[in-house]
Symmetry: C2
Subunit: 240 residues, 2 copies
DNA sequence: ACTTTTATTTCGCCG
DNA sequence: CGGCGAAGTAAAAGT
């Protein structure tokens, strides 16, 4: 079966196609690019995204996102692949017949990015100075009647009660309000309003405004930093 | 030959390796990620960059840039690939023996991004209003003694001489200075200082400051826009 | 659906 | 070499 036919069928069957061979590549769309003859890998995925990879560099030299219209043609005896997405066109012209490798891949797994909020808390408990010098955690996940759970409850160097709310991504105004809720309940319980610290990699503008108006403090804490602490801790544990 | 051995040799020979099979992927570095079992393509290039591609999505789910330390191992009978780059580690554990496809690719071609400056000039000559309404090009690449060449020399709607300098990328202060040079020479030649227009997709802050201080005008002109004009022109030519 | 923000951003130029 | 800005940014989250 000719390579062009085989590729069309494979794409229809949802297989991933890898073509390898000498080709010229032209892209025109938001920008424009030209790539002279050379040997590359062309990868076409089942969602009709396409990648052109040179033998070096971890980024594709050209590509088209998923949902592109992929066409396999023979033009003057040469195999041509075009991928059209709106007014953007990628055209790959193989100057010699490319090799064709097909892969039937099944992949339903969940991709989890970043350290989890749980891991961030572990890091914080292992290294309380991530919040501030002299911070001492007292309770992990303290249950606050009606309001829910405070991530970490502790005291600062001057003995003041501190409620810490952790977020693994940009903190929102809702997160600030939730922490305010905890502070309200804790104030009634202890007779004195605790400090409130929202620890997150960043905060939205509205969240910052809310914090400014309610005396809640912000502490920048990234999952990355937490991962470093956890790994350091692990390394230490392994050493001891 | 075992796949692990074969992969090592291929990498040493500068070949591009494509491994396909069910695997689990763990990344820890600037961030951290976990990807459960599923079938993926793993591409290892000769510059020791590595990509993990799921069957959909045009971006790799995990990767490591060029210059990573790539290791192929057998652990408890399973093939494991690790790529280490500084304190970043990518680990791919194949739960079944992966297929191994090797590609010997030679690619020395130049990659040209954007429309060329030449193409931008063609567009401008074909559609002078890209500069401003009433602009009329008079000379293409006018040689200015000692100073070099002005991209386009023309007159505006009020008959004033205009020197246009084209850049396909963000204009720098040096570009402004070059245009000023042309203006100086043209002023001596014509007895009157021409208008100077720098046409580029954007300008650096320093370039903008230099323009403000030297009465040089900026006209935003993108390669994309020029490509559109060229294509429209081509379409018209084909029609006539 | 549109806008804003993030990213293991990457990449290039500027200072 | 560090910092800043753009990218055919892409992709996710907020509005």
């Amino acid at each position: 079966m000719p390579a062009v036919e085989e590729a069309r069928k494979a794409l229809a069957k949802g297989e991933v196609i890898v073509m390898a061979g000498p080709c010229e590549v032209v892209y025109e769309g938001r920008g424009a690019s030209r790539l002279g003859e050379g040997e590359r890998l062309v990868i076409i995925k089942r969602d009709r995204s396409i990648l052109v990879h040179r033998p070096t560099g971890h980024e594709p030299v050209n590509w088209q996102p998923s949902g592109s219209a992929i066409e396999f043609k023979k033009e003057e005896g040469l195999t041509v692949v075009t991928a059209t997405n709106g007014d953007e066109v990628l055209r790959i012209r193989f100057t010699k017949e490319p090799s064709l490798t097909l892969f039937k891949l099944s992949d339903e797994a969940l991709f989890e990015m970043y350290a989890s909020e749980e891991e961030m808390k572990m890091a914080l408990l292992a290294e309380p100075s991530l919040i501030e010098e002299g911070f001492t955690p007292m309770e992990d996940e303290r249950y606050v009647r009606e309001a829910g759970r405070v991530d970490v409850l502790g005291v600062d160097r001057e003995g003041r009660l501190v409620a810490v709310e952790l977020k693994r991504r940009t903190a929102t105004r809702d997160d600030v309000k939730q922490l305010m809720n905890y502070l309200d309940v804790l104030e009634r319980e202890f007779g004195k309003r605790p400090r409130g610290i929202l620890a997150a990699p960043s905060a939205t503008k509205t969240a910052r405004a809310e914090m400014a108006g309610s005396k809640i403090e912000f502490k920048c804490l990234t999952p990355k930093k937490c991962m470093q602490v956890i790994r350091k801790k692990k390394g230490l544990d392994a050493y001891l």
